[in-house]
C-alpha cells in the first residue's frame, strides 16, 4: 500500500536516505577502515606466505585480489545487516511503510561504494606485493570491471544478507549461501583483471567478454533483489 502512496520517487528518496545513513554510520564507526581493510590486506600477505613464489604470485595476483574481496564481502554484509537488526531498525522501517525496494537499493549502493574502496586498495596491494602492473588501457578495463563486479556483489550480498537478517546463526549461514552464487563474479572478474594486468601475456581485448558476464550478473541480481527484497522482509 505504501508503494502506491509514495510512488517511484519514494523508492529513490528512500534509497538515497538509506545509503547516506549507511555511509554516515561507516564514517563514524570506521569499521571498514579500521577492521575490514586491514583484514583484506593481511589476507593478501597470507596468500604470499602460502604460495611462496614471486612467479606464482604474479600469475595468480588477479584471482587473489578477487578472493580477498569475496572474503571481505562476507564480513561487510554481516556488518551491513547487523546495523539494521541490532535495534529492530529494519522491522521499524518496514512497519513505517518504507518501500522495501528503496531499502534494497540504498543498502546495495552503500555496500558498493565501500566495496569499490576495498577493491582499489587490493589492486594497489597487488601492484606493490605481487608485482602486478597495468597500462592506461588496462586501467580503463580494470575500473569498469571493478564497477560491474562490485555492483553484482553488492546486489547479491544485500539480497542474501536480508534473507538471513535477524535469524539465529546467520553469520555462519551467509558464506554457505553467498559463495556459490558469486562464483560467476569470481570467474568473470578474475579473467578480466588478468587481461588488464596482462598476466601470462593475455591481451586486454580478451577481457571485455568477461566484463559482459559481470554486467549480466549485476543487472540480473539487481533486478531480482529489487523485486524479491519486499517479500523477504514482509513476514
Amino acid at each position: 500500500m505504501s508503494k502506491e502512496l509514495q510512488g517511484s520517487a519514494g523508492v529513490f528518496a528512500t534509497a538515497r536516505l538509506i545509503s547516506a545513513k549507511d555511509l554516515r554510520v561507516e564514517r563514524r564507526s570506521r569499521v571498514l577502515l579500521n577492521q575490514v581493510l586491514p583484514f583484506a590486506l593481511i589476507v593478501m600477505v597470507m596468500f604470499a606466505f602460502a604460495l611462496d613464489s614471486d612467479a606464482i604470485l604474479e600469475r595468480v595476483a588477479p584471482g587473489l585480489v578477487w578472493l580477498a574481496t569475496l572474503f571481505s564481502v562476507l564480513v561487510m554484509v554481516s556488518r551491513s545487516f547487523a546495523v539494521e537488526t541490532a535495534d529492530g531498525a529494519l522491522d521499524q522501517l518496514r512497519s513505517a511503510g518504507v518501500p522495501a525496494t528503496g531499502i534494497f537499493i540504498g543498502k546495495m549502493l552503500a555496500l558498493m561504494a565501500q566495496l569499490l574502496v576495498l577493491v582499489a586498495l587490493l589492486v594497489g596491494a597487488a601492484v606493490v606485493l605481487y608485482r602486478a602492473s597495468f597500462s592506461w588501457e588496462g586501467g580503463v578495463l580494470l575500473v569498469t570491471t571493478a564497477i560491474a563486479a562490485t555492483c553484482g556483489l553488492a546486489a547479491v550480498g544485500t539480497l542474501y544478507g536480508g534473507l538471513a537478517a535477524g535469524a539465529k546463526g546467520r553469520e555462519t549461514l551467509l558464506p554457505l549461501l553467498l559463495l556459490p552464487v558469486v562464483a560467476p563474479v569470481l570467474i568473470g572478474a578474475t579473467r578480466a583483471t588478468e587481461s588488464a594486468f596482462g598476466t601470462n601475456g593475455i591481451a586486454i581485448s580478451e577481457g571485455w567478454p568477461w566484463l559482459g558476464l559481470l554486467v549480466v550478473f549485476a543487472v540480473l541480481f539487481s533486478v531480482a533483489g529489487a523485486v524479491a527484497f519486499g517479500p523477504l522482509l514482509d513476514d
Binding site: 539465529k168 546463526g169 552464487v181 562464483a183 558476464l213 523477504l232
Partner: protein
C-alpha cells in the same frame, strides 16, 4: 535423554500407521522388488561395455540418481512458485518443496560419489572441472544452503516465504554458474571428457537395465517425497499444537522415571 518406544502414547500404538498408507506400502514392495532386479541385472547379468568395460555397471545407479535429483530440484522450484503465487498459497506446497529438496540433495550426493567412483575407473581421476560436473557440485551446495535456511526458525509462513524466494533465486543462479563455468572451462582445456564413452551403441539389455534404474529411482523419489512431506506436516502440527502438549508429556514421563 531418549524416549523409549515402550512408552505408551495416547494417540498411536506402535502398529499404527504414521506416514504410511496402503499405497506407499504397495509402492515400497514394488521398489524392493525393482531394486533387487536392478542389482542382479546391473551387477551380474548385463554385459560389460565395449568402451567403459565393467565400470558401466555403476552407471545404472548413477545416471538415474542424477536425473531424479535434477527432477527433485525442478519440483522444488515449481512448488516454491506455487507457494508464492497468492491463489495457490498453501503450506503444503512449502513442505513439498522442502521434502523434494531434501531428497534431491540426497540423490545428488549419492550421484556425486558414484560418479567420481566411475570417473576414477574410466578417466583415472575422481574429478574433472567439466562444466556439468562443476554445476552439479554447485547445485548440491546451493540446496544444502536452502535446507539450512529452512531450518532457521521463525513461523511456518516465514520459513515458507524465505525458502521459496531462495529456491527461485537458485533457478536464476544455476544457469549463470553453468554458463560462466563453461566459458571458463573452454579456455582452459579441450572439450570435456564427460562426452567420451557416453554416446555408445547400447546393447538391448543394457538399455533395459538403465530404464529399470530410472523407474526404480522415480518410485523411490515418490515414496521418499510422500513420506517426508507427511513427516514435515507432522512436525508442523507438533509446533502448532504448542509446547504445552510436549511439556505435559515430558512431565508425565519424568514422574514415571522418578517413581
Amino acid at each position: 535423554m531418549t524416549t523409549t518406544d515402550t512408552n505408551t502414547s495416547t494417540n498411536s500404538s506402535p502398529r499404527d500407521r504414521v506416514t504410511g498408507t496402503p499405497f506407499t506400502r504397495g509402492l515400497g514392495v514394488v521398489i524392493l522388488a525393482g531394486m533387487t532386479l536392478l542389482i542382479i541385472l546391473g551387477i551380474f547379468v548385463s554385459p560389460a561395455d565395449v568402451n567403459q568395460g565393467e565400470s558401466v555397471r555403476i552407471m545404472y545407479a548413477h545416471v538415474p540418481g542424477a536425473w531424479l535429483a535434477y527432477l527433485a530440484f525442478v519440483v522444488t522450484g515449481i512448488s516454491s512458485a506455487a507457494y508464492l503465487w497468492k491463489r495457490t498459497r498453501s503450506l503444503t506446497w512449502d513442505r513439498i518443496a522442502g521434502a523434494s529438496a531434501e531428497v534431491g540433495v540426497l540423490f545428488m550426493g549419492i550421484s556425486l560419489v558414484t560418479g567420481s567412483l566411475w570417473g576414477r575407473i574410466t578417466w583415472g581421476t575422481y574429478w574433472t572441472w567439466d562444466a556439468r560436473l562443476t554445476t552439479t557440485a554447485f547445485l548440491f551446495v546451493t540446496y544444502i544452503g536452502y535446507l539450512a535456511v529452512r531450518g532457521l526458525g521463525g513461523t511456518h509462513q516465514q520459513r515458507a516465504r524465505r525458502s521459496a524466494v531462495l529456491a527461485l533465486l537458485a533457478v536464476l543462479e544455476i544457469p549463470l554458474v553453468h554458463f560462466s563455468v563453461q566459458l571458463w572451462n573452454t579456455l582452459h582445456q579441450e572439450a570435456s571428457v564427460a562426452g567420451r564413452g557416453t554416446d555408445v551403441e547400447m546393447d538391448g539389455l543394457m538399455l533395459f537395465t538403465l530404464f529399470l534404474g530410472v523407474a526404480v529411482f522415480t518410485l523411490m523419489y515418490v515414496w521418499l517425497l510422500l513420506h517426508r512431506q507427511r513427516s514435515l506436516a507432522l512436525d508442523d502440527m507438533l509446533d502448532d499444537s504448542g509446547l504445552d502438549n510436549a511439556l505435559t508429556a515430558r512431565r508425565a514421563e519424568a514422574q514415571g522415571v522418578a517413581r
